[in-house]
């Protein structure tokens, strides 16, 4: 009893050993933080590497509209994308870039019923005088070619328009320029369709020759891309497969 009282009364603080044990325990607890910090640092580096606040990111859509339609996202890049090529010109009037003439005898005329109230004309000849409308930068595919003119009785009833795919003639269509062009209407004028033409290259050329039975008139030429209509009815996606199955309905609009 006395010894117990003596031992109890002698405990005035903590020993060096106890202090060391406490520090070791503290060190162990402290060291436990290290894996957490390392893990978080690696995770942070990974996530910030994907999208860092000091970097400018560009969202660039692809040129394929079907990719967006079927759920693809814009690509993310850190480099500014080059400016895309301007969309191809689809309408050329006489005097516009893309319009050229060869041979002699071409003259200007102003008429209210002409495209942009002006046109070029030439008397009929042996085919040496020609007007050209050149559409460049096109995608390969089917195009409808439409022409317009200001009608007049003295003009040719068989003005020959020839369509070229690059250097390759795709066909000649003769039109009656004594009557107003009938067909589709654009800009308040009637436009006659010369038909659908398959273009393999990137240039479509329309040529008007003076080899006709009257005066030929060079005015506006318009082209329109023709595509089959594809309608997605449903889309099957699976988390286990990379393929995506689309059920589509195709309405054929171009010659097959």
């Amino acid at each position: 009893m006395r010894n117990q009282h003596l031992n109890h009364s002698l405990r005035t603080g903590f020993s060096l050993l106890e202090l060391q044990v406490a520090l070791i325990l503290f060190g162990i607890a402290f060291a436990g933080l290290i894996p957490l910090v390392v893990m978080q640092s690696k995770q942070l580096k990974k996530i910030e590497g994907r999208f860092h606040h000091q970097t400018t990111y560009y969202l660039v859509p692809t040129a394929n509209p079907w990719a967006g339609k079927l759920g693809a996202a814009a690509s993310v890049t850190t480099e500014a994308p080059a400016s895309g090529a301007p969309p191809p010109v689809m309408v050329i009037d006489d005097g516009d870039p893309g319009y050229t003439e060869s041979g002699y005898g071409w003259s200007s005329s102003k008429r209210d019923e002409a495209f942009h109230q002006k046109l070029r004309k030439n008397v009929n000849g042996n085919g040496s005088a020609k007007a050209h409308w050149q559409f460049a930068g096109l995608e390969a595919g089917w195009y409808e070619v439409l022409v317009t003119w200001a009608a007049k009785d003295s003009q040719a009833s068989d003005a020959p328009y020839t369509i070229y795919d690059g250097q390759l003639a795709k066909g000649t269509v003769r039109v009656n320029q004594t009557v107003k062009p009938a067909g589709k209407s654009f800009d308040g004028l009637g436009w006659k369709s010369l038909g659908l033409f398959a273009i393999q290259g990137d240039t479509l050329l329309v040529e008007l020759s003076d080899q006709a039975d009257g005066m030929v008139v060079a005015d506006g030429v318009r082209i329109a891309r023709v595509e089959n209509e594809v309608r997605v009815l449903s889309l099957d996606k699976s988390l286990t497969r990379e393929e995506v199955t689309a059920h589509v309905l195709v309405t054929v609009r171009v010659p097959q």
Binding site: G13, V37, Q40, Q43, P61, A74, P81
Partner: protein, 181 residues
């Protein structure tokens, strides 16, 4: 027996502390505080900062992915129909802080009607969240949390989006340039 007036501990050693004990404990407590503060600044603070930065980077990633889907040129989720249906046909920056996107609806006409049948999607910061509102369906989704502000700048062929996120005392501004389809 109690402590004598001279501070001796005759007869009783268990009541109160000696000055030297108090000093020793104070020194040890000081050392402990130094160790703890060092540990906190060395590991604890970077750890919490890293957690905050991780959180913001994740939220910013979510915002980026959502914008990437809409800026691809077609309405996300509307995968059926013709390719013209759901195509992005109009974009407006309202007040430099609201991004309005117009997607063509059936029957398509290729122009932004900003109403039926088109679908109008609006991105804006509301109550510290970047939200994506679908005006046609009337749905509102939180795209990213901790959003402080979104600043929009017209760039001719696209829009510059500066999204500022703040979590606790850390702020980050993420810059996205979305090109028009």
């Amino acid at each position: 027996m109690t402590r004598t007036s001279k501070g001796t501990r005759l007869g009783c050693q268990c009541h109160g502390f000696m000055v030297i004990e108090v000093m020793l404990v104070s020194v040890l407590m000081g050392v402990l505080v130094l160790l703890l503060s060092g540990a906190w600044s060395g590991l604890g603070r970077p750890s919490t900062d890293a957690a905050a930065r991780c959180r913001m980077a994740q939220e910013a990633n979510l915002a980026l992915q959502s914008l990437a889907c809409d800026f691809h040129g077609s309405l996300a989720g509307e995968v059926t129909g013709r390719k013209q249906a759901g195509r992005l046909v109009g974009r407006l920056l309202v007040g430099g802080s609201q991004l309005w996107l117009c997607f063509d609806g059936e029957p398509t006409n290729g122009v932004a009607d900003w109403g039926s049948p088109d679908t109008v999607i609006v991105y804006e910061v509301q109550a510290n969240h970047l939200v994506r509102s679908d005006h046609r369906l009337g749905t509102v989704f939180n795209v990213a949390a901790n959003a402080e502000q979104m600043r929009l700048t017209e760039q001719g062929d696209g829009v510059k989006i500066e999204l500022t996120l703040r979590y606790r005392d850390i702020a980050r501004t993420y810059t996205i340039v979305a090109k028009d389809p």
